[in-house]
Amino acid sequence: MTDYARITRDGLWDNNVVFAQMLALCPTLAVTGTASNGLGMGLASTAVLVVSNVVISAIRHLVSPEVRIPVYIVVIATLVTLVDMALNAWLHELYKVLGLFIALIVVNCAILGRAESFAARNAVLPSALDGLMMGLGFTAALVVLGGVREVLGSGTLFAQAHLLLGEAFAFLELTVIPGYKGYLMMILPPGGFLALGFLLAGKRVLDRRRAERAARLATAPAVA
C-alpha cells in the first residue's frame, strides 16, 4: 500500500527538490530573476516530470539495472524534445515565452533523480503523483525564490506574467516598491545564491522548531 499523503508531503515540503534534495540548482539559479520566469520553468518541468515518471514506471520491469541510466536519459531527452516541438508547432505564442526554459529541462537532474529513486521502484499511479507533487514543490520553490529576488532586485512582483499566462492574469503584476531604483545584485547569479541560502536556512529553522514542538508534545504527558 502506497501512502499518497506521504508522497504529497514529501514533494511539497519534506523532500522538496530545491530546499531539501538541493537538486536542479542550475536551472533554479539561472531562471529565478523574476517570479514569472520561475513559474514558467516550474510548470514546464512539472509536465515533463509527470510524463517521465509515468513512462519510466511503466517500463521498470523491462529495464535491467545495468543499463537503466542511459535508458532513462534517452527517455527524458526524448520527452523534452517532444514537448519542445509540440509547443513550437501548436502553442507558438507560449513557446516564444517558454522556449528558453524547455531546453534547460534536460539538464534538470531532479527528473533523473525521481526516475531513479521513485518511478523505477513504484507503480504507475504513485509515480505520477510523485512527479506532480515534486514538480509543484519545485514550482513553488522557484516562484518563492524568483519572488524574493524580483522584489529585492527590481521592486516588482510577477512582472510580465501576462506573457506567460495570458492577459487575464495581468492583475498579478505588482509594483511592490514604487520608484525603486533596483538592486542589481539580486537579479544577477550572486543574488540567487544569497537568496537561496537564506531561504534554505529559513526552512531548516522552521523544520527544527516543528521537530522540537513535536518532541515536547511527545514527552509532556510522561513528565506530568
Binding site: 523574476t34 529495464v63 534517452v74 527517455v75 516541438m85 513550437n88 508547432a89 527590481s154 542589481l184 544577477l188
Partner: protein
C-alpha cells in the same frame, strides 16, 4: 516474471534493450518532427512576416516574403525584403546582427528609401533575463528610440550608446547588449548606404 528476471541478466538483453530504446525514441522523434514540421515552418514564416510588418509602419502593396534580394553584407549574405508602392521600392527590411553578452543579437531593421530608420525589433537573442532582455519591446520601450534616426542624424560618431559618447541609453548593469544592438543597426545603415542603388531597384516595374 521469473523468466524476465533471468533474461535481464544476459549481456545480449541489455544491448538489445538499449537498441530498442534508442530505436523507439528516435522513431518517436522522427514522427513528431514530421507531424510538427509544417506547423513549425508556418509559425516561423508568420513570425518573420510579423517582425517585418512591425518595422514597416508605412503603406505598401506587395507581398514582402516574395520580393527579396540577397546581397553580400559585412558578415555573410543579407536577405533584404522590399516593400513597394505601385512598383516603387518605398522601404527595405533586413536582418542585422551584433555580438551581445551571451551570443549574437539579431534584429530586424526597417529603412525607408531616404535612409531613415522606420523601426528596429530584436528577433533573437540570448541575453540575461531581467537585464539584457529590455531590448524586447514587450519588456521596455528602449527599442523605439531608433525610429526616425539615420546615419546623419545623429552624426555617425554619436550613433552609439551613451557610455561610448552617443545618444542611445544603455541599461543599468547591461551595456554590452544595447551596444550590440546600436552598433549592428549602425552597420545596417552603412550597408544600406553602400548598396542603396541595388536595394532600391531603380528600374521601375510598371
Amino acid at each position: 516474471m521469473a523468466m524476465l528476471e533471468r533474461l535481464r541478466g544476459h549481456l545480449a538483453y541489455q544491448g538489445a534493450l538499449l537498441a530498442v530504446a534508442a530505436l523507439l525514441t528516435s522513431g518517436a522523434l522522427a514522427l513528431a518532427a514530421k507531424a510538427t514540421g509544417p506547423a513549425i515552418e508556418a509559425a516561423a514564416a508568420e513570425d518573420l512576416k510579423q517582425s517585418l510588418t512591425q518595422v514597416l509602419p508605412g503603406q505598401y502593396d506587395n507581398d514582402l516574403l516574395d520580393d527579396k534580394v540577397v546581397l553580400p553584407g559585412p558578415d555573410g549574405e543579407v536577405t533584404v525584403y522590399r516593400a513597394r508602392q505601385a512598383g516603387r521600392v518605398v522601404a527595405v527590411v533586413f536582418e542585422v546582427a551584433g555580438r551581445g553578452y551571451a551570443g549574437p543579437v539579431v534584429s530586424m531593421l526597417g529603412v525607408d528609401r531616404d535612409g531613415r530608420i522606420l523601426g528596429v525589433r530584436v528577433i533573437a537573442h540570448r541575453e540575461t533575463p531581467g537585464l539584457g532582455d529590455k531590448i524586447e519591446p514587450a519588456k521596455d520601450r528602449w527599442i523605439h528610440a531608433f525610429a526616425g534616426k539615420s546615419l546623419g542624424a545623429p552624426p555617425a560618431d554619436r550613433f552609439a550608446v551613451k557610455k561610448d559618447g552617443g545618444v542611445f541609453d544603455q541599461f543599468a548593469g547591461a551595456t554590452i547588449t544595447p551596444r550590440a544592438v546600436v552598433n549592428s543597426v549602425k552597420g545596417g545603415l552603412a550597408f544600406f548606404g553602400r548598396e542603396k542603388a541595388r536595394l532600391l531597384d531603380e528600374e521601375v516595374k510598371s
